[in-house]
Symmetry: C2
Subunit: 242 residues, 2 copies
DNA sequence: GTGCCCAATTTGGGATCCAATCAAGTACAC
DNA sequence: GTGTACTTGATTGGATCCCAAATTGGGCAC
């Protein structure tokens, strides 16, 4: 439809669904079901799944099916380690290359992210769970970093960093609470620091800040996962007492 | 045959052929031809190709075919930048984790690589072109680094670094000559320096050395490519005068 | 030489079909 | 009741045949 082959379209659509949490980790993807859903035969579906498998988003379990990968805590931490490394490199490379318009774009992305962070925290305090807001928030975060990738203009880094970034699932992000506000706002503030270092033409400074920022994002995600896990345990406990 | 599905087997076989230079960059892979070659139908062949495409080894050109990617100088340089970054991280992580047996293994790999480097340089001086030797040499180089990856025990880093490493094609490596000996032996010596830093339990030192080593490997490869290009120009000039 | 049209390939994809495999249930022995 | 073997149903991996659309490489007129 949009562009290229059906297999590509399906792969992209599935990728979106998986990253956004619409299809939860651990699910088994039935070929026939997908072929109905996308109104195609099994052939392009299977090709799309092969692609996702190569990207590490799903795993083939021969004769049993394709399962959406479930990442362990270790794997998530590793993904942030890798991202920290790649992103600091990208930032270093991008710094001397960024013109005024790039910096303006960066500032706009920073501002949008700030707003959404505030919204997300408020919504969360109000006890609501807004998946769409969480998705936008995550998207805004990515946008900020994408400006840097685009300026660095090293496709391989961008590809790999984005691959590592797919561990950053949307789903848990409505599950915040007062005790995480600091982490959220820290995360937010770091964007500004990075931008200022870039504007000050300090590749080394920007590099160090970018690294620290990604690692700190990782700690935020881990804190959120802990919280979700704790909530799940609580729910289970209540459930079992009924 | 070996393990898993046919699509996986084919993908692995093709990957080997491409990296080893048996299938040169720029070739178009015909589905029917491959299905005859591997004695299977087009179905698993196409799935294998999708996987290779996701790994970045080939590109789908809709309705025209699948082409083995041809990397530009820029892309090759970028791949080494990324590898330098990932490898220095892996080395830092691996350093405190490596036991005596790991260090022994590393030393063995280092020694084997030294021998093959000597052989490769000698063979090259004698004017012979031994593709099999070049392949072994490259394999020995990879083995050294693989010991470190294994010790670091971070699968994501390993996967990504190996993806970046596939730019390191075997083919040009018989094309050495006297003026590259220094680079070859420098490269060789750096392995020793890295191992010694690891043995001295200096993660930061090992990290810096690993980074410098990969970047220097990149310079070696670029020098080789220049040489090959120069030879090709020469050959063309002679050819055109006939 | 340039432009245009046609035929041959080749791909993307659909529709069927089948063997191997696995999950789950069932029967059976103990 | 528990453990084991058998049967069954669902699903996958793959083969085979099919066809429309796109690309390519001429040939042919001009």
């Amino acid at each position: 439809m949009s562009e290229g082959t059906k297999a590509d379209d399906i792969a992209l659509a599935l990728e979106e669904s998986i990253v956004s949490g619409e299809i939860p980790p651990g699910s088994v993807l039935r070929q026939e079901h997908l072929s109905e859903q996308f109104q195609v035969s099994r052939t392009p579906v299977r090709e799309a799944l092969r692609r996702l498998a190569a990207l590490g988003l799903v795993t083939f379990e021969p004769n049993r099916g394709v399962r959406v990968r479930m990442l362990s805590r270790d794997e998530i931490r590793e993904a942030f380690l890798v991202r920290a490394e790649l992103e600091s490199l990208a930032t270093e490379i991008a710094t001397p290359k960024m013109g005024d318009s790039d910096l303006a774009e960066l500032k706009a992305a920073e501002r949008r992210f700030s707003e959404l962070t505030r919204e997300l925290v408020e919504t969360s305090h109000a006890g609501r769970q807004d998946l769409e807001l969480a998705r936008e928030w995550l998207f805004a975060n990515h946008s900020f970093h994408d400006v840097i990738y685009a300026a660095a203009d090293v496709p391989l880094i961008e590809r790999m960093a984005k691959a590592a970034r797919r561990t950053f699932l949307v789903k848990p992000f409505w599950a915040t609470g007062a005790d995480l506000d600091d982490l959220f706002h820290l995360n937010d503030g770091q964007h500004r620091a990075i931008r200022e270092a870039i504007a000050a033409r300090s590749p080394e400074g920007a590099r160090v800040l970018a690294r620290e920022h990604v690692l700190s994002s990782g700690r935020l995600l881990e804190a959120i996962l802990d919280k979700v896990a704790a909530q799940a345990r609580e729910t289970t406990a209540i459930g079992s007492s009924i």
